[in-house]
Amino acid sequence: MTQLGVTVDGVAYRDDVEPRMLLVHYLRERLGKVGTVVGCDTSNCGACTVLLDGRSVKSCSVLAVQADDRDVTTIEGLADADGTLHPLQQAFHDQHALQCGFCTPGMIMAACDLLRDNPNPSESEVREGIEGNLCRCTGYQNIVRAVQAAAKTTAATS
């Protein structure tokens, strides 16, 4: 067992974990952060995407111990404390960018990182930017719309 100290969605945790434990399993099984989900075993689907020190990572391809001393944000920590949705969460709702919703946490977290790098992406930049995240329901068109809508909202309020 290895000791791990990590901040997740603003809360500090200290745990003993097996060195082989993946970050996504630590989040789900030890912290109950089941909003982050597992969709594959080859790092293709992106459903498990979280932010690690503000950058998106597929938490199935990061060991829990690699998050030691670092800051993790999951979909559960994205909205404001008063429940106000993050612009991307709001835009996904407004633009009907989700159907079953299983890919949505990862898609939103990946889009967070995309907008950090490129606050005003074109359609093709959004498509390239989220290509590591698979959705089987929406055909992506409304996801692209949502990311661009969130970019506009963010620009308008910052």
Binding site: D41, E76, H96, Q99, C100, R127, G132, C135, I143
Partner: protein, 770 residues
């Protein structure tokens, strides 16, 4: 038919979905999120061999691994595991070899369960699988359908006499629905014959399947990632002998299905068997790799199709012969999938004579079953492809050939050569709109100039003018096709004391947005606010009756049940209103949620006031129960037939083979629309899957019967970067087979788009001899 719905306020609005709030914040209830006190974890060892006798299974070492509570082979369950049910024996003499959940002495496809470990944690269970020893004696694999049905072929199931499960045939002369096909073939002025292949596909829902089973006395509660909690409940009773009244099945948040979760699975049965044997709650969640090889696959047909025409381009006959790969076993509706397609090969066309013959074939591959469209994409692909081929042979524009043969808008209702009556449609209107949106004439001009310039990048235009049958299904027709169950749907409406409303539906949504759409319907029907309606589904305890969600059935069948239940609530409330207003029931009008006496506006009682009055029950009409609640079951008389014209422009690089979709226009006619936002989303997602069939996806097996596309690395589910934006629009020909006037939309995009894309590619390359 039932009366039409009054002019709606909510219906037709692009309401944002009620479902989204918990999904965008991660407050979800996926089955794998569930943890019960004392819960154990199941891991399944799967066969690496496609076809082999099992000489020995030794699980004794696995039992000694840390944290392991139980380790089992097929022998441990051979007397109690029953069989995975097949509810659709399509012919009286169909051969069903039975489908064990865990192999006992032979494996028939790679990925079949061969041993089980139950442990304290999932990691401990998976680790212990490594300690299991199995001796296999390999058997020859059976991979090629055409070879599998020849005399002397190696057998998948050695106790059977052939690899053929069934032959299902229809001929319009014999059925009395059209002329004899032999006459059409003999007298044909032009005969176009083609062979098409419908490759094997993997549904690839994003949420891997997961099941939690809690044994409670003689019974069980099962949470499962399923489209069909009600069917699952009945099948757990029938197949495993658990009294039905002691089985509760819950489908919590379910992450997509596309037909792939229209199943009663070996994994659900195995989790139940071990949970009951150990007397503990057990969870099983598959990995993606397990899902790819053990959840059922879709499509996989060899199509031999002949279209006969007159010299002036009138269709005279259609002759279809299919081989349909069932895989190693028959699952819930495996044999029925190609039979659903049997009624759709004629598409939107007037064809006087038709024959359809399908052989269901066993191979040593993963079983096939429903995948988005289920039979109809296969049929639509074949007819839309061969019409293009016929147009090329005749030297006629492919759209012109379609116009000469399609059913015109003034010919509806139209009874086809299959004996189905198409309710409504306007192929001319949808086509005209699609041609306008894509700028057809300009694209044709560009195509001509690129051809003339011998441009290495050629342009192709593809057409798909499709229809499909939706709203599965009239129980009477299902019975005539030997399906074991009915096709009705159930709904209940409960008026609560405070005037809010609970709607219980037997439909089981997994992304479709029923909570939103049903709320819109009920808000209009009862005149209550959209926000005051709560839709309850997906739990056989709170929603005890239902036939679940598949086959674009939920709105037309389940939504209609909601309308009928609302009508009964209004009838009861009218009686109370008459009593409260001291008027005759005949003089009570109901509009906008208020009952009033005809000719005396402003005197009314709202439905909420009446609900409270009934709750208090101090002063009810003589003999009336203190309840406004009502149940309704709707069984459609007929299907509904959405249609549309999809046009695709592709650029094909003749030097590299690269295909780029330049524009895609979909004009769909799905009748009346409850929520255009949801409809558009369904079309987009459907298009993505149909385009993926045309360009990206195929489940491939190697010569040893191993699935070589067993992960998302090898099986190309398209990303956002692989797909274009779509242009969508609608025309409206209301359905006449349900009071909402709605058709179905869940499968339309998938059904239409594969031939549109392939026709476009062939069109680009046809001058090169393709």
């Amino acid at each position: 038919m039932t009366a039409t719905v009054e002019r709606p306020a909510e219906i037709g609005q692009a309401r944002k979905r009620k479902e989204d709030a918990h999904l965008v914040t991660g407050r979800t209830t996926w089955t794998d999120n569930l943890t019960l006190p004392g819960m154990l974890h199941l891991a399944i060892l799967r066969s690496p061999m496609a076809h082999a006798r099992i000489a020995n299974v030794d699980v004794s070492s696995a039992r000694r691994r840390p944290g392991v509570i139980g380790a089992f082979s097929g022998q441990d369950f051979k007397d109690v595991q029953g069989t995975i049910p097949c509810a659709w024996p399509v012919t009286e003499d169909m051969v069903n070899p039975g489908h064990p959940s865990i192999a006992v002495d032979q494996v028939n496809h790679a990925g079949e369960a061969v041993a089980l470990v139950v442990a304290r944690t999932k990691a401990e269970a998976e680790d212990a699988l490594e300690a299991i020893d199995i001796d296999y004696e390999p058997l020859p694999v059976v991979l090629d359908m055409a070879a599998a049905v020849r005399d002397g072929a190696e057998l998948v199931h050695s106790h059977l006499t052939s690899n053929k499960s069934f032959t299902w045939a229809f001929e319009s002369g014999a059925a009395g629905t059209g002329g004899p096909i032999e006459d059409a073939l003999r007298d044909a002025e032009i005969t176009v014959h083609r062979q098409f292949r419908q490759q094997r596909l993997i549904p690839a829902f994003m949420e891997p399947r997961s099941t939690v089973v809690q044994p409670i006395g003689e019974g069980v509660t099962m949470w499962s990632s399923t489209q069909v909690p009600h069917i699952l409940r009945t099948m757990l009773a029938l197949s495993l002998g658990i009294p039905e009244q002691k089985v509760r099945v819950i489908a919590p948040d379910v992450g997509g299905g596309f037909g792939g979760k229209l199943q009663v699975t070996p994994e659900e049965f195995l989790t139940t068997l071990v949970a009951r044997r150990l007397g503990k709650p057990v969870k099983y969640t598959e990995s993606r790799s397990e899902s790819m090889m053990s959840a059922h696959h879709g499509r996989d047909q060899l199509q031999d199709i002949t279209l006969t025409l007159t010299r002036d381009g009138r269709f005279t006959g259609l002759d279809v012969h299919l081989l349909a790969d069932m895989g190693a076993y028959l699952r819930l509706v495996s044999p029925g999938v190609p039979i659903l397609g049997a009624f759709m090969f004629n598409g939107i066309y007037k064809i006087p004579a038709y024959r359809f013959v399908c052989d269901g074939v066993f191979t040593t591959k993963t079983p096939t079953d429903a995948y988005r469209g289920a039979g109809r994409p296969e049929a639509t692909f074949a007819i839309e492809r061969i019409v293009d081929e016929a147009a090329a042979e005749l030297g006629v524009d492919p759209m012109e050939l379609r116009r000469r043969n399609w059913i015109t808008h003034d010919e509806f209702p139209f009874t086809t050569v299959c004996g189905l009556t198409y309710d409504s449609g306007n192929y001319e209107a949808a086509t005209d709109r699609a041609l306008e949106l894509i700028g057809w004439d300009a694209l044709r001009a560009e195509q001509a100039s690129r051809r003339a310039a011998n441009d290495p990048v050629q342009l192709g235009l593809g057409i798909s003018t499709f229809t499909e049958m939706c709203g599965l299904a009239p129980s009477r027709i299902l019975g005539s096709l030997l399906y074991a169950a009915g096709g009705w749907e159930h709904a209940s409406i409960r008026m609560l004391a405070t005037g809010t409303v609970e709607v219980v539906t037997g439909s089981s949504a997994h992304g479709q947005g029923h909570e939103t759409a049903w709320s819109q319907i009920v808000a209009d029907q009862l005149g209550v606010p959209f926000e005051d309606v709560e839709v309850i589904h997906g739990d056989t305890q709170s929603s005890p009756k239902g036939m679940d969600t598949y086959g674009s059935r939920s709105l037309t069948v389940g939504g209609t049940a909601v309308v009928l239940a609302a009508g009964k609530v209004i009838d009861k409330a009218r009686r109370v209103a008459a009593h409260m207003l001291e008027a005759s029931e005949d003089d009570i009008e109901f509009a906008g949620g208020t009952f009033s006496v005809r000719g005396a506006p402003g005197t009314g009682k709202t439905i909420q006031e009446i609900a409270f009055n009934v709750f208090a029950a101090h002063d009810l009409p003589e003999g009336m129960e203190a309840s406004l609640d009502a149940d309704a079951t709707f069984d459609p008389e007929s299907f509904s037939f959405p249609h549309g014209t999809h046009l695709c422009a592709t650029e094909v690089d003749t030097e590299t083979g690269r295909v780029t979709i330049r524009s895609y226009v979909a004009v769909d006619d799905i009748g009346e629309v409850i929520n255009p936002l949801i409809v558009e989303g369904q079309v987009h997602g459907g298009l993505a899957q149909g385009i993926a069939q045309a360009l990206f996806e195929e489940a491939v097996y190697d010569d040893d019967g191993n699935l070589t596309t067993g992960t998302l690395v090898d099986y190309l589910v398209p990303s956002a970067a692989d797909l274009p934006s779509f242009v969508t629009d609608r025309t409206v020909s209301p359905s006449t087979t349900n009071p909402l006037g709605a058709k179905g939309v869940g499968e339309a995009g998938t059904i239409a788009s594969t031939p549109a894309v392939v026709n476009a590619i062939v069109d680009a390359l046809r001058p090169l001899g393709v």
